[in-house]
Amino acid sequence: MDWQGQKLAEQLMQILLLIAAVMAFVVGYATASFRTMMLIYAGGVVLTTLITIPNWPCFNRHPLKWLDPSEAEKYPKPEVVAVSSKKKSSKK
């Protein structure tokens, strides 16, 4: 997930859980059934899990911009001097 997606996922999670809680309480109180309240809330938690946890495409709309390879050439990787005297040189 990219940064925008993470923010969106977190906000969605909080709002969805709050809405599930409010609806659960209102319906449970109106029907005088504790069991109904718990079931609705559990359903809301499962739904929120399905929406916010997996890596859906809508959370990847603003992908991170990595440096172009041409930019990277200007900053070559440093040469590693190993004991076995194997020299690594950067490949283009």
């Binding site: 309480f25 449970g28 809330y41």
Partner: protein, 167 residues
């Protein structure tokens, strides 16, 4: 929020916190219920009234308990525990309470009842003060919730008297 585990943890923690709030509000909503219980206790018979070998008085009664505790049940009630206690005063103690009978009422439908029974628990005094004693029979109840605060209350019925001599 950059990995499954991180998001799952955040979601679960928030969900459980909100669950705690829901339960607290559910318990708080019990304060708004309108409770009008009623009860009546009749002593049908004093079966026997003896002094035990150790010097304590003991009475055996047959009680007729009629009660309507249906209005105590709310959506957040798991069960109601009701018990009948005999309360009286002696020179040694300002208040003596002896539990004579109790019951667990799991559902609203069972809360309106009529029962005729001899005392489930023995009515034994600390001493021998019961002859000619005036006492109250009190029906106490505890409303046990599914979540949250337990409420307890009682109805005091007075005017009962034990005989002046052993039988």
């Amino acid at each position: 929020m950059h990995s499954f585990g991180y998001r799952a943890n955040a979601l679960l923690t928030f969900a459980v916190t909100i669950l705690a709030f829901i339960c607290a509000i559910a318990s708080f909503s019990d304060n708004f219920s309108n409770q009008t219980p009623s009860a009546q206790i009749q002593i049908l018979n004093i079966n026997w009234f003896q002094k035990q070998p150790h010097g304590n008085d003991e009475v055996s009664l047959t009680l007729n308990v009629t009660a309507d505790l249906q209005s105590l049940f709310t959506w957040n009630t798991k069960q109601v525990f009701a018990f009948v206690a005999a309360e009286y005063e002696t020179s040694k103690n300002a208040l003596n309470q002896v539990s004579l009978w109790d019951a667990i009422i799991p559902e609203k439908e069972h809360a309106k009842f009529w029962i005729q029974i001899s005392n489930k628990y023995r009515f034994i005094d600390q001493g021998h003060n019961l002859r000619g004693k005036d006492f109250n029979l009190t029906l106490h109840w505890h409303v046990m919730p599914k979540t949250g605060k337990m409420f307890a209350d009682k109805i005091v019925m007075s005017g009962y008297r034990l005989p002046n001599a052993y039988r």
